[in-house]
């Protein structure tokens, strides 16, 4: 069970994020919720690639007796996480820009008073 702590952390992060997205009414807090979910998913991807006692898959000054590939962690999930982090930054920037513009327009960030569109 102790080995599964990263997965439990993933689950908790996603739940916290979903809570913020569903229950919070401030746009900035909703955006924070999405960011938290995204951290959870990124953690999930990285955790998938871990090998117990593994080293980073970088050959520069690697200890001489390392088994290749058995003792190196998987590189693909790390690359995927890198990509998804950058995508997350991009989405975050766009959402914040929208929030700024909404604030300029309505003078508030509360979704209840912003919601002018019919459901």
């Amino acid at each position: 069970m102790i080995y599964n702590i990263p997965y439990i952390a993933v689950m908790l992060l996603i739940l916290v994020g979903l809570y913020a997205v569903i229950a919070k009414r401030n746009i900035i807090k909703i955006i924070m919720g999405i960011s938290i979910i995204e951290s959870g998913v990124n953690l999930f991807l990285v955790a998938l690639g871990y090998r117990e006692g593994g080293l980073a898959p970088i050959f520069t000054n690697l200890p001489e007796k390392t088994q290749i590939p058995g003792q190196l962690v998987l590189p693909v999930p790390q690359a995927l996480t890198l990509t998804s982090i950058v995508i997350g930054v991009a989405v975050l920037a766009l959402m914040l820009a929208l929030a700024v513009q909404i604030y300029k327009h309505y003078k508030t960030l509360d979704v209840r008073s912003v919601r002018r569109l019919k459901e």
């Binding site: 739940l15 117990e52 050959f59 690359a79 989405v91 820009a97 929208l98």
Partner: protein, 95 residues
């Protein structure tokens, strides 16, 4: 006001149950943390990255060579976001 709280709470509980159901079997049965079961593709990359790309860093090899097209997409996402931010805040961009 009350109903919203109840709805969100129940949705959260459902999602929580769903996630627990989904993540625990993954970690316990199929792939315990720190012991990936299936790693053909990654082992191939680790063993051949230096020869294929000449780079010592296997992650960089994946990012720019094996999955280089993803990185082009990623750069495009950033480009898109900058264009989008400039479009949305265009009143302030040209000062």
């Amino acid at each position: 006001m009350k109903t919203r709280a109840i709805v969100s709470l129940s949705v959260l509980i459902l999602l929580g149950v769903f996630l627990i159901m989904s993540i625990l079997p993954l970690s316990n049965v199929l792939r315990p943390f720190g012991d990936p079961e299936n790693s053909d593709m990654d082992d191939y990359i680790i063993s051949n990255a230096q020869n294929d790309t000449g780079a010592n860093n296997a992650v960089t090899s994946v990012v720019f060579d094996y999955r280089g097209f993803d990185t082009l997409g990623e750069a495009t996402v950033l480009f898109t976001a900058v264009a989008g931010v400039i479009l949305i805040l265009r009143r302030y961009a040209h000062e």
